[in-house]
Symmetry: D2
Subunit: 372 residues, 4 copies
């Protein structure tokens, strides 16, 4: 029996989900067949157009119709963040599995409500943390688990983009707490949390600082300037339950950075370095062999790394951003068909959100925030 897909949203992430659904089985082989059943966007003709382009059987401009459609088994939620909670709750209530883009909601309470609903529903949920699907990242995890760099001691993570770097950019809803919630922490920082905790385990406590670089922006109607209510940068000192210390820093106003999501992971035997802007490369240093030959080596992703080979049997040929979503969709499908929990489901993703909201809280209060 095939699974029917309902997709809400057709923007950046909407398209990524559509492509992921189209390709999960073709690429991975193991994933079950899916039917691209129903696509929702507004207005209706936009939905119709994208349904045709993406290959969905039907379209609608009513997301409530989508989440209750009897032929839809899985709902992909890719709308702006402020709609996530309501849609996810409705989909779960209608007995659907849910794949929701990150962050879960605008507030920690949103996430908590979603996780509670997921737990109550018995359905499979997943939040769209695509970067942890990368074969290079998975290989980093494998090397860590195998003790290849020894005991972990320190980690530094950065995630930067420059989409809010321009001082002359017009004010948008992204600047409002009520509509956007967190700033760079919600857009970018949570991705880094998914990586750092995927390497070092849960974060125990943190101290943080935040900054709004551009405190006002010109209103689009020319009527003056609007306040920017959320953070452009945030940095935190982290302590992990495992004893690892580290830091996390994020900026949406970092000129020149387009997807600078990376880490340095220090162990007692070596170091791992990764940067998403070169997503097919992993840097590894190990203290072994003659000192005169030691150095960071650049490992190009290839079929020896995770599911890379399902995309291409030749090393160095490179997976791209959309391929990460293909892996993600396949993992959700596998979880649904095997009755296991994909990572991160709503419960696990809530823990990521506790971190970013904890950072914001610490930055506001100036106090150390203890998590979990």
């Amino acid at each position: 029996m095939t699974l029917g897909i309902g997709l809400i949203g057709t923007g950046f992430m909407g398209k990524a989900h559509a492509l992921a659904w189209r390709n999960a089985r073709a690429v991975l082989g193991t994933a079950p067949e899916v039917r691209l059943e129903l696509l929702c966007d507004t207005p209706a003709d936009k939905a119709t157009g994208f349904a045709s382009q993406f290959g969905f059987a039907r379209s609608t401009d009513d997301w409530r119709a989508l989440v209750t459609d009897p032929k839809v088994d899985i709902v992909s939620i890719t709308t702006p963040n402020r709609f996530h909670k309501e849609m996810a709750l409705a989909a779960l209530a209608a007995g659907k599995h849910v794949w929701c883009e990150k962050p879960m909601g605008l507030t920690l309470a949103d996430g908590e409500a979603m996780a509670a609903a997921a737990a109550a529903s018995g359905k499979t949920t997943m939040v769209g943390y695509n970067y942890i699907r990368n074969p290079a990242f998975r290989h980093a995890q494998k090397l860590v688990e195998a003790g290849r760099i020894g005991r972990l001691v320190h980690v530094r993570g950065i995630v930067d983009e420059d989409y809010q770097a321009d001082p002359d950019l017009a004010w948008t809803w992204r600047a409002r707490l009520e509509e956007a919630g967190l700033g760079t922490l919600g857009d970018l920082g949570c991705h880094l949390v998914s990586m750092l905790t995927g390497l070092c385990g849960p974060i125990e406590s943190l101290v943080a600082d935040m900054q709004t670089v551009h405190t006002t922006r010109p209103l689009p109607d020319g009527s003056g300037r609007g306040a920017v209510e959320n953070e452009d940068t945030a940095t935190a000192l982290l302590r992990f339950a495992s004893g690892v210390h580290g830091s996390l820093s994020t900026s949406r106003s970092a000129w020149g950075r387009k997807n600078r999501l990376g880490f340095e992971l220090h162990g007692t035997k070596g170091m791992l370095v990764f940067d998403q802007e070169r997503m097919n490369e992993l840097q590894l240093y190990v203290n072994e062999g003659p000192k005169a030959e030691q150095g960071f080596r650049t490992i190009l992703s290839g079929p020896e790394h995770g599911v890379y080979g399902a995309f291409c049997p030749a090393p160095g040929h490179q997976v791209g951003f959309n391929d990460l979503k293909v892996i993600e969709a396949a993992e959700l499908l596998t979880a649904i068909t095997t009755g296991t929990r994909p990572h991160p489901d709503f419960a696990a993703a809530l823990e990521f959100e506790r971190v970013i909201h904890g950072i914001a809280e610490s930055a506001r209060t100036g106090q150390r925030v203890v998590l979990g």
Copy 2:
């Protein structure tokens, strides 16, 4: 009216074609709908399995049935090189459009026969030169055409992999002239020709050298060693009709190189550098602005570059190898529906093959070879 696709082969390139056909319209929007009609491989159950995985309606183990199938409009040929000619000729004879992987055949005569058949058929043909679809490469071409680096004067190209670097690798048919034709020139070198001529125009003459690094290899049955009849490396001094001088070098025995396909293009005002192992980056140096601030800049691919934005609206998020094939498929579809010639069709691709066969000839004779 939709176009029906017939795909022969399910290996590295077979899968790449399948994914390309699945995604061309969904990604690019402009491409017409296609039907994944018929897939061929042997044995029959392999064909059936991949038809299911890739989403083809039917399967067969008889490629002749495929090329004459009435519901098939376009034939994708992704089999080993020695089958290309026969299949392409049969498909053209059956009135099909043909997308054939490179190189066209084992000998220049193969290519000439294919180009002649294509011309006679009036059908649309294309050869699978995927690397020239890369938005970064297309942007390099655009910069060149805009005169951004001035008059072109010199170019150096390299394409290396290491799949034949290991001296202990067993002998295969790849080592036989009769079955494989050229060695690294056919596998890798022709891709570089597609790039260099795409930047500097046609090559007028050349002088070359070749080398078989591992002259024998252990026979798989343990009965001794078999001769390697084709080249592991080849290097040529090039003169382009435009007056550009340059060089091309290729090796399939270059340890550590996984897809090192790149060039340095020297102009009178600047330089462009590209390496496929970092396929989302283009290096540009322009002699402008204060000397103290000049330097090679790393341009990360983004929506400003060609069709990148159709894959992802955010810069630096990266396209991957399979995405190049999606672009390629879309270009073929556009050519078919608009009655234009895609690049490179069999006639244009033949010119690339003249270069690699010219290199082999010059290396054998020690004489300059004049092309065209």
Copy 3:
């Protein structure tokens, strides 16, 4: 009238000072002549040997004799940190100019005493912050001052080495607070402070965390394990008086890092990135020109950058570590002969030490430390 040089110490920094004194005038031209008058080390024959090698006229094993020697005008102090204060105070008391290696002493009180003595003496003092002499760094400062990257908003600095990364390394005096003072903050962190404040101005307050990665080490006599009393890593959240926010992180246990001293400096118009492991390169991104051509550019140091041209008139040929000390020596000489203050003199260097001791204090207390 030439200036007579007295050098105490012949290790890493001792040799660097000796070479700096030998070359300041030959390279820079503007520096006055110096006489390599007296060299001190113990035992006496070591001093004699190095005096001969480095070209000093005389040698001694008594540093007190050196600092009072009538032919000595400037004293270079390159001994282990715990001797700095006593030697500097004696040299100042004897009316000598002093060039002392960093950090000034083991405690903040040491530094305060030294700065007070310097102020009282009227002599010229300088602390050995060599990395801020680098033409690439100076050019970064110049670009900042010229507003090339706009208003500064964020900065991240890292300085890592791996000389204490090996868990099996024997215990030494470096692990003792009483003998070594701070750990990585004193060895490495203060260099980063010299850079970050050189770019962003004084630091106003900070919150920090520290970590001892290897809490005990095997005693060299095999009698068990000794405690490591000072920090292997330290990380701080910084707020600068200028409004810049940022972070600083340092580790002496970072495998693979040999001299990873660098920063990312975020401005409202661009970004500057530097890494001492590629000390002849500066990365600059500026939001100007077509988006499609923007990227980080790698500026190779050349004669357009500071005093690079005094070393070599050709760009890209590279200055090395010892060259930084040559520049430093020349700056001290210029300051002495012109009666100006070199940077950093004891007073200015004390401000750097306030930062590293402030980091240690914040890490111990868990409280924000306000400086200045």
Copy 4:
């Protein structure tokens, strides 16, 4: 007994020699003491000024007086190329050891005359091939000799700068065959030959091409345009006596390249890559260990590499361009005092020049040139 140094020339290389003489013993320890005896330049006051700056005891504007001065034991020749032969012959005739900058002369006959005179004189000679002194390069040689990358099979070398890239640059004597001899081959190409033959042994034969990018340049007096008589670029296909095949390419008109002198050396077990623009890094790939962890490693120069430790005991701190000349001077001094031959003496350097003149000849005639 100390050796007296006479230096002719005070430009780029003159200063480099002066600094090398000042530092060889201080850095390396093993080199004997030298006296900076006599410096020659014109006019006389320029010589006086530089003698003072560089620390030479006396100065002259008459190079013939210098080469016959009884207190001079070694003559450094750093004048424009067209003076090398006459000065070297005179110095050898006067019984001096000679350190001459490369290339030896304008023609191969110049070099032959110099090598013959050197052989007849019994004095020690050396030509200034500084890049092969680099600890990173020496380590590459050591790795090759130890078989670390297996049997050598292929090599590609490039040496590029951009000092003649600007089309608007005025015509100078550098453009004249009679005054400058070869173009980029003499300036840059011979350095690459010193490296490639230092790795792969002597070159047996070659085929080459050359190009003058800017065939005329504006005359400095504004009276029109003068012809550029020598080559801006040259590229050769090389066959080494060892069986290695390869290529060499050089341009003095390569925008953005400041000292791009490097190679890729392909062996049956691995690869070595070097680029002088990152002169403290060596890239090594070895086919060993798990495939999933293989990659090019960046080895930062440190005390494990050749004489690096004499400059600095800490890895990653970096030697610079002038340090290469210090090593070179020390090697010459060691050769003189031990009665051994430094590398390359005039005889060995003549072999390098046979290669660059062979390249020019092959480019002119279109024929393969057999060397040796």
